[in-house]
């Protein structure tokens, strides 16, 4: 995340805004505290610590999905692991053995594609099924079951979760139609 300096007027506006948010939003206050203590990492994958545009506090931040990257990923999964061929086909009529054989192709190829372009790690490292105490609510861990009360939350870890720590998709060069995730093939003899 690049840190730039704000002009004076914006700073006055921001201080007025944050005063109230610190008072009424405990999580936000904790983040400001961490910022003061210098604990905020420079890692661009970390969520932004401070909302610096006034609009953010008024309504939920929304942005359109990045279609190019999604199309690229689909093309990659298809090229390496025949992903679209697999999910586009109606598998109901086929025996499990045949689906299993196809799954190997898809699994091996998609795994290779994902590993080459992303670093995926578990959100929690504890064993699934083990008891876990969460000191405070966090976006990292979704509470399920009897969701009530306040932190600390005691429960059983059901899923470790996944986080993409790094995503390195190929750079696109030249004029290419990204919606063409797999061109048709014509064999000349």
């Amino acid at each position: 995340m690049t840190v730039t300096s704000l002009p004076l007027l914006s700073r006055i506006w921001l201080s007025w805004l944050t005063t109230f948010r610190i008072l009424f939003d405990g999580r936000f206050a904790a983040q400001v505290l961490a910022l003061r203590a210098g604990q905020v990492s420079d890692d661009s994958s970390a969520p932004p610590a401070l909302p610096i545009t006034p609009a953010d506090s008024a309504r939920a931040h929304s942005r359109p999905p990045a279609a190019d990257a999604a199309l690229q990923l689909l093309a990659l999964l298809q090229r390496e692991g025949r992903f679209l061929d697999f999910v586009q086909q109606d598998v109901a009529a086929f025996p499990d053995a045949e689906i299993g054989a196809a799954a190997r192709v898809v699994h091996e190829g998609c795994r290779r594609a994902i590993r080459a372009h992303a670093r995926v790690v578990s959100v929690r490292t504890e064993a699934e099924g083990a008891p876990l105490t969460l000191e405070r609510a966090s976006e990292d861990v979704k509470l399920v079951g009897n969701v009530a009360g306040s932190a600390p939350f005691r429960g059983v870890l059901r899923h470790r979760g996944w986080r993409v720590e790094e995503l390195k998709l190929p750079t696109m060069v030249g004029e290419h139609d990204l919606t063409l995730v797999a061109p048709a093939e014509l064999e000349l003899s």
Partner: protein, 606 residues
Amino acid sequence: MSSKFVVGIDLGTTHSALAMAELSATDPHVTVLEIEQLVGAGAVAKRALLPSFLYFAHESEPALALPWDAERRFCVGELARSRGAEAPQRVIASAKSWLSYGGIDRRAGNLPLGAPDDIEKISPVETSFRFLDHLNEAFRAARPADGDLSEQEVVLTVPASFDAGARDLTVEAALAAGFEQVTLLEEPQAALYAWIERNGDAWRSHLHAGDRVLVVDIGGGTTDFSLIDAVEQEGSLGLSRVAVGDHILLGGDNMDLALAHVVGQELAEQGKELDRFQLGALAHACRSAKEKLLSDASLQEVAVVLPSRGSQLLGGSIRGELRRDQVERYLLEGFFPAVAATDLPKVRARAGLTQVGLPYASDAAITKHLAAFLARHAFAEPATGAADSRPPTAILFNGGVLKAEILRTRVIDTLNGWLEQRGSAKARVLPGEDLDLAVARGAAYYGLVRHGRGLRIRGGTARAYYVGIESPMPALPGLEPPVFALCVAPFGMEEGTQAALPPQELFVVVGEPVTFRFFGSSTRRSDPAGSVLERWRPGELEELPKIELVLPPAGRAAGDVVAVHLQASVTAIGTLKLEAIAQTPLVADERWQIELSVRHGSSSDA
């Protein structure tokens, strides 16, 4: 001009890699540069390895644009490899093997073999140049502030078994790419340098004076052996390369093809016929199945699935399997059989008329090739003249194939069996890692060594070189006149040195190209320049591509006969230079350079 970096380039048969180190750093360390390349249509990404494939676009395809060239009609790297499987006549593979093959004119446009008419074929030298040029472009793109590779000191690796001509052509490709400060380094030496770099100063506690290291380097397309001695040098430890093996075109790709053949055979017996595309996919699937079986001893078989070519994945896919017993039988027993030290590779007589093609090794047993190498350089009886023949005490592995522990174990067990039988101590394994990138890393480290930052492996030329001279005798029908071999370059010439001038005169006609037969020997270590061999044991001398001299008529009449002496020197780059020196010069120091890598005559295969 002082360079900022030393750059090591592994220009491999199947992959290339680039590593570098900053010269001005107080504690320079070697890093690998990820190489930007096309990985899919219009998709560019950085990879540690650049597959050594070159693909020519068809007119139906858009340009193979790179960030630095929007109009390009060819590409190298990952996309070239995958397009090559789809349109094989448009791709060049194994260019490095062609570069060392005297059976074709290596400066003439003849690749890809069998290319369609719309492709302007290029030479093996130009193919190598294009790989180097791509590395240069990727370097410039990644480090815009550091200029390009022509401003850096470049160490380029070649197989130890490359002869003088193939080394020359490699340098020619590098000069064409603009690399002005280039040095050659043998790949097994680079692997040992990488090992030294990784171990820091601790390497001296792993190796002691008197140790002899056997480097076994098995890449995708070639197998290369070297022996390197640890010796006492002015009170401290030094390294000296004492022997290199023959050029063996045998590697991991052969192994994958062999397994694909086995599985394909089984599928054919079940009535499942495979087309060319599926056979290619089968080799691919067998490679990953093999890797799984080799890395997990509990697996008994791994399914090999060939997806249907159409968009319906289910229903059209073919399922086979690769079993452990097959891997053991065909890979272990086929390529790495536990053989006796006396079990040498079968030599298949060459057919009189062969198609143009690479001279692949005719015996796939790598352990037999190793036995032959050691028989010559390590197990020979002292009386046979091979100086300093003694067994290895340590072994260093290199090359992607040897990532499989079971294969390393087989090589070391076989070697130790031989050593035990001879009453020698077992060899220990020098632990290596990252067998894909070690050569590039070692080459960059060698660049630092040349600046006095580390220990240099001494060695000099790995062969003695001889010129064939026909003995004067009356012509007899059906009998070729006997050939004497005149030694022009003794074994072990160091960079920047010159051989003594042999007293023998050769006669050359002015204005006409004169070719000489040319021989190399990796076993005759004590012939000085000027010695003449009238006979030699089979296998002792290896015939190399012919050499050629053209005397320009300047100052002389065309057709005149001039007496010359041949003198060899080794350049600072590490290539052999042969010059003809006029016995009665017209001007001071009159000499002409002899061309080392001309086309191999078809009848000269010994």
